[in-house]
C-alpha cells in the first residue's frame, strides 16, 4: 500500500448522501414534518427510545418536568439549563468528495452487494455484557482464582456475603466481618480494627468481585466477541480478544485481581466467559505481555488463570477469626497514603487542638465529606497552615482533592 493511501480517508471522502444545499422540496419536507410534529401533544414519555429499553415507562407530564428521568445515553448531561447554541451548532468542515474515474464502478457494486450492516455491538457482545451485569449483581458467593505466572501456581479464594467477606490467598488471609477488618500478620495473629480500608484489607477483592466494570470496559474494547451455545439454550460461551496498548487515561483496574492493564501495557488478552442461564460462572484468561520491561520468557511474558464463580446468591457462613489483636497503630488497616494523611492530622492537632472542634476525630475524613464538612475542613487546613503545620495542611488538602475527584 502506498503510504499516502489512507483507507479511512478514502471512505470519508465518499460520504453517501452528504448534506448539501437543501432543495425547495427538502425545505418543504422539513417544514411539513415540523408542523406535523408540533401538532402532536407533548409531555408524554414512552420507554426510553435511546436505549432500546422497552421497560421503564414513565410519565413526563408538564407537572413533572422538574425531575425528568434522564435517558441513560445522556447520563452526563449537566443540570437543568437551556441549551446554548454554541454547544450544538456545528461548523461543517467537509473534505471535498473526490471525483474518481468510473473505471471500476461495477466492482464497487459487487463489493457492497454484500450488505454493509450499519450497527456494531451485535448480540454476542450484548449477551456477554448482560452476563457480566448479572455477575455484578451477586451479593453473595465464592470466587476461586487459580493462576499460573512463570510456572508458579497460586490459588485465591474469596467468599462474600453482603459486607462480610473472607480472603484466603495462601499465606495472606483477611476478613471483614460485622464492620471489623482482620488482617493476618507475620506472627499468625489477626490484626483487627474498626478503622479499615476494605480494598486494602481484601487486596482489591472488594464488593465488585473481580471488577465487572473493568470487564465491561474490556468487553467494549474487545476485537472479537463470539457467543456459542454449548449446553443448549442455558449455557453460553463468550470469547474476547484484547490486544494493543491502552492510551491516555484509559486504565483498566483489576481484571481479575492481580492482572492490571495500564497505559504502558502491550498485552494480548484472551478471555473466555462461561455463563449458565445468563449468569457468569467461569472466566478463563490467557495473557501475553509484550510491554517493554516485562519479564521475558521465550521472548515475552505469559500468564494464565481461571476464575470460578460459585454459590452465587447463596448465603455464606463467614465467621470472624480467633487469635486476634489490636495493633498500636489504629490506622494499621488503612492503605499507606491514607494512614500518612490521618497520622499527620492527628499529630498536628495534638499540638494545635484549637484548630479542630472539641472531640474531633481524624477518621471523620474516612466517611463521605459533605459540602458543609468540606468547608470546616478547609478552615482546619488554614488554621494548621497558620500554625506552620504544613504536612497536616497538605494532607487535608489532598483528602479534599480526593473528594473532589470522586464527586
Amino acid at each position: 500500500m502506498s503510504e499516502e493511501k489512507d483507507p479511512f480517508e478514502l471512505v470519508s471522502s465518499a460520504m453517501p448522501f452528504e448534506p448539501g444545499e437543501r432543495s425547495p422540496e427538502d425545505n418543504k419536507i422539513k417544514d411539513d414534518m415540523l408542523a406535523q410534529i408540533l401538532a402532536t401533544p407533548t409531555g408524554v414519555a414512552d420507554a426510553d427510545p435511546s436505549t432500546g429499553d422497552a421497560e421503564g415507562t414513565q410519565s413526563l407530564g408538564a407537572s413533572e418536568v422538574e425531575h425528568p428521568q434522564r435517558p441513560a445515553a445522556v447520563a452526563s448531561a449537566r443540570p437543568r439549563s437551556a441549551m446554548a447554541p454554541s454547544q450544538t451548532s456545528r461548523v461543517r468542515h467537509r473534505r471535498p468528495i473526490r471525483r474518481l474515474a468510473a473505471a471500476s464502478l461495477a466492482m464497487i457494486g459487487v463489493i457492497i452487494a454484500v450488505s454493509i450492516s450499519p450497527f456494531g455491538g451485535g448480540s454476542s457482545q450484548a449477551e456477554a455484557s448482560e452476563a457480566i451485569q448479572q455477575w455484578s449483581a451477586a451479593e453473595s458467593g465464592v470466587v476461586t482464582h487459580e493462576s499460573n505466572f512463570g510456572g508458579i501456581p497460586q490459588t485465591t479464594v474469596f467468599t462474600f456475603d453482603g459486607d462480610n467477606a473472607a480472603l484466603d490467598a495462601g499465606s495472606k488471609e483477611a476478613f471483614v466481618v460485622d464492620d471489623l477488618g482482620y488482617l493476618l500478620d507475620q506472627n499468625g495473629v489477626y490484626l483487627t480494627s474498626p478503622i479499615y480500608d476494605r480494598a486494602y484489607v481484601l487486596q482489591d477483592w472488594t464488593d465488585d468481585i473481580g471488577n465487572p466494570d473493568a470487564l465491561q470496559a474490556i468487553l467494549s474494547l474487545a476485537d472479537d466477541v463470539d457467543a456459542t451455545a454449548t449446553n443448549g439454550v442455558a449455557s453460553y460461551r463468550f470469547t474476547l480478544n484484547f490486544s494493543g496498548s491502552l492510551e491516555d487515561n484509559e486504565r483498566l483496574e483489576v481484571l481479575p485481581t492481580g492482572l492490571q492493564l495500564s497505559p504502558a501495557s502491550a498485552i494480548r488478552l484472551d478471555v473466555v466467559l462461561q455463563a449458565v442461564d445468563g449468569v457468569l460462572t467461569e472466566l478463563d484468561y490467557d495473557v501475553v505481555d509484550f510491554s517493554e520491561g516485562a519479564p521475558r520468557g521465550d521472548g515475552q511474558s505469559a500468564f494464565s488463570g481461571t476464575i470460578t464463580y460459585s454459590k452465587l446468591g447463596e448465603p455464606q457462613d463467614i465467621e470472624s477469626p480467633s487469635n486476634t489483636a489490636n495493633h498500636p497503630d489504629r490506622y494499621r488497616l488503612l492503605d499507606g497514603e491514607m494512614k500518612s494523611y490521618l497520622a499527620n492530622i492527628d499529630s498536628a492537632l495534638s499540638r494545635n487542638a484549637t484548630c479542630a472542634p472539641a472531640g474531633f476525630d481524624a477518621t471523620e475524613f474516612l466517611v463521605e465529606i459533605t459540602d458543609e464538612r468540606a468547608g470546616e475542613f478547609e478552615q482546619m487546613q488554614d488554621c494548621l497552615g497558620d500554625a506552620d503545620e504544613r504536612a497536616a495542611g497538605q494532607s487535608i488538602g489532598l483528602l479534599l482533592e480526593r473528594r473532589e475527584s470522586s464527586n
Binding site: P19, V65, V74, L100
Partner: protein
C-alpha cells in the same frame, strides 16, 4: 434581554444567569415557548440526522419516516431535551434504535445496500486531474470496510460519514470518548491492514 429565544441563540452567548432563568421559566410554564426551543433543536440537527437515516434506509421516503418518528419522540420528550447539555447524541441514539428495528425487516438491508451502491457509484463518476486516488483505491477501501467486524465498521461510519465527535459517539455507543479513540485507532489499523491485504491480492 433574557428569554427563551435569546437563550437559545447566539445573542445570549454564555450567560448562565440567563440560562438559569429560562430554565426556571420553563419549569414554571413548561409549555411556554417550548415550540421555539424544539424548533431550534430541530433546525440544528435535521440535516445530519436525515443523512444518518438516509444512509441506513432503502428509500428516501422510508428514511424520512424514521427521521420524523425520531423527532416526534424527541418532541414528546421535550422536557428531557431541555435538560440535556447536547441532545444530539440522544437524537442519534433514538434514530439508531428505530433503524435497528427496521433492519429486522427482510428486505431492509438489501434495499439499503442497493441504495448505498447507487449513491457511491454517483460519487465516482468524474475524474479530477492530478488527483492521486483512483476508483480502485476507493473500491478497495470499501471492501476493506466491509471486512471489518460490525462494531468497527459502525464506528468508522459514525466518524467518517456521520461526522460525530468522539464524545458524541461515546454517548451513542455507551462508552467513554477515550474508548472511542482507542477503538477507532484499532479500527483504522485493521482497515489499513485489510486494505493492504486486498491490494496485495490484486498484484
Amino acid at each position: 434581554m433574557c428569554d427563551l429565544e435569546t437563550a437559545t441563540t447566539s445573542q445570549s452567548g454564555h450567560d448562565p444567569g440567563c440560562e438559569s432563568r429560562v430554565a426556571t421559566l420553563m419549569s414554571v410554564h413548561p409549555t411556554a415557548n417550548v415550540e421555539q426551543f424544539f424548533a431550534h433543536i430541530y433546525d440544528e440537527n435535521w440535516d445530519d440526522l436525515r443523512g444518518y437515516c438516509q444512509r441506513r434506509s432503502p428509500s428516501s421516503a422510508e428514511a424520512d419516516d424514521v427521521l420524523a418518528e425520531t423527532f416526534l419522540i424527541a418532541w414528546k420528550r421535550v422536557a428531557e431535551l431541555i435538560d440535556m447539555q447536547n441532545p444530539r447524541p440522544w437524537l442519534f441514539a433514538v434514530a439508531r434504535n428505530l433503524l435497528r428495528e427496521q433492519y429486522r425487516k427482510i428486505d431492509w438491508a438489501e434495499g439499503v445496500t442497493k441504495r448505498l451502491m447507487s449513491e457511491l457509484l454517483a460519487a465516482v463518476t468524474v475524474e479530477v486531474p492530478g488527483e492521486n486516488t483512483s476508483a480502485d483505491d476507493l473500491q478497495n477501501a470499501v471492501l476493506a470496510l466491509e471486512r471489518l467486524p460490525d462494531a468497527e465498521r459502525e464506528l468508522i461510519q459514525l466518524v467518517a460519514w456521520d461526522e460525530l465527535s468522539y464524545p458524541e459517539v461515546g454517548e451513542l455507543l455507551g462508552c467513554s470518548p477515550n474508548a472511542v479513540a482507542i477503538r477507532l485507532h484499532r479500527a483504522r489499523a485493521r482497515l489499513t491492514t485489510e486494505f493492504s491485504s486486498i491490494e496485495r491480492s490484486q498484484q
